[in-house]
Amino acid sequence: MISYLLRHLQVLFYTLGQLTAAPLATLMTVAVIGITLALPSGLYVLLENMQRMTAHWEGGAQISLFLQTTTSDSAAQKLAEKLRRTPGVAEIEYLSADDALLEFKQLSGFGEALDALDSNPLPPVLVVWPAPDYSKPQALEALRKSFSKFGEVDIAQLDLEWVKRLHIILRLAQRGVLLLGGLLGMAVLLVISNTIRLAIFNRKDEIQIIKLIGGTDAFIQRPFLYSGWLQGTLGAIMAWLLVTLGLALLAGPIGDLAILYGSQFNLANMALGPSMALLGIGGGLGWLASRIAVGRHLRAIEPT
């Protein structure tokens, strides 16, 4: 058993030696695999981050009541009082047109451009936080409908709508990343099986000689399988580094953006599980690719 392991280890080191004997070619292959795997991995990490960011939004559903621009301050206050006593309303905040404009100026940075306007284009807004027992989508929808019946209310908007939509879009994007990952995985398969095919033909004489002196197919294919696995794994490590680098470059601007929207948000790198999965997928693709190449070409090389 130990000698069996030792023999495999020997082949592994031998393979590593062969790969480092042609460092440029190996580096190119690994880079191609790395970039190919980095694309779906990076998108996956970004999606994970977006999901994390939006996960707690669902609980804090709000209903925004955009009032007619002609509504006076006192009328709006009165409506707020009335709504506060309605069942299902936990909390209500009144944002006058002036307040809304002030807030928008501060947050958007368009202050001077807005100063140029001679009238305030923003409507006054009532923001309603529903009571916790009204958090079900149907209850919220019923609440929104009842609000929209008031004459002062121009638009009653359930903010859950876009959260829901966002989640659907995120799910769709996830599918897209999966699909892209599948396609690019195929590309990796082709790249590695092609390098293995070349390696097999480069060592045609050696393969013939080993077959002549009684080497089994299993013995001959072993270094090629290790080579494919190694290339895939190294490519996955490269992809991980690229994703990490990309996130580091994005972290600054995204943090600034989050502050602009009054929240704190840190981009998280790939978690341990997905990182390991990436390594496994890279190695597995490499192994599979070399199996395909070996299956197609090794048998054809017979001593003459």
């Binding site: 050696e206 000689i209 080993i210 002196i213 009684g214 017979e302």
Partner: protein, 227 residues
């Protein structure tokens, strides 16, 4: 050890390389296989090592019927046969030691075992001091002796050689032939293909002669073979 019974070999191109070959090489014997170039000597050796399959007839090597021998078992059959080639067929990116060790590595021998056996084989061919060098730095005769060491390192019961002295001068070629004789004296069955009649005269061994695919001499045992 080797038994051919009405063996034919037709190559895919239609070339009939062997026709109606019958002979028997008993265990422990040594024989020469001779004939002009193109007579079918290499083809006959390739059938014994299952590089080629017989088209018709029965060929039995070490009690195995080659016509029906399963492909996946071929490596194990080849481990029982040491083969020496005219062009050596060495791996030039590996040392002499690694070349000679290859049959043992392939067969999964233990590490300590390999060192001991490789040195014993190199000692027999007089190349013990060259184990660390690369074959390209060796002379033709030395390279051929590396090939012989590799052929005998796992002590096969059968040793084949295809024109092993083809590129060597007379003195070197005699040395090589004497090596085969000494292996035979240690009990190995040996079959050497050569068109050098000098060895045949010098060493008084049985001779199998091929001519245009037919065996014209050495069929004296055919009577016993009609099974």
């Amino acid at each position: 050890m080797i038994l051919f019974d009405h063996v034919y070999k037709r190559y895919p191109g239609g070339q009939e390389a062997l026709k109606d070959i019958c002979f028997d090489l008993p265990t422990g014997e040594m024989a020469f296989l001779t004939g002009h170039s193109g007579a079918g000597k290499s083809t006959l050796l390739k059938i014994i090592t299952l590089i080629e399959r017989p088209s018709r007839g029965q060929a039995i090597v070490n009690n195995k019927n080659l016509s029906t021998y399963p492909r996946r078992h071929i490596p194990y059959l080849r481990r029982e046969i040491g083969v020496v080639f005219q062009d050596h067929k060495l791996l030039y990116d590996r040392t002499v030691f690694d070349n000679v060790a290859l049959p043992l590595v392939v067969a999964g021998h233990r590490h300590q075992d390999i060192g001991r056996r490789v040195r014993a084989a190199l000692d027999k061919v007089g190349l013990l001091k060259k184990e660390r060098v690369y074959p390209i730095t060796l002379s033709g005769g030395e390279q051929q002796r590396v090939g012989i060491a590799r052929a005998v390192v796992n002590r096969p019961p059968l040793l084949l050689a295809d024109e092993p002295t083809g590129n060597l001068d007379a003195a070197l070629s005699d040395e090589i032939m004497d090596l085969f004789v000494s292996f035979n004296q240690h009990g190995v069955t040996v079959l050497v293909a050569t068109h050098d009649l000098r060895h045949i005269k010098r060493l008084r061994m049985p001779v199998l002669t091929l001519s245009q695919g037919y065996m014209v001499d050495g069929q004296q045992k055919q009577g016993q073979m009609d099974l």
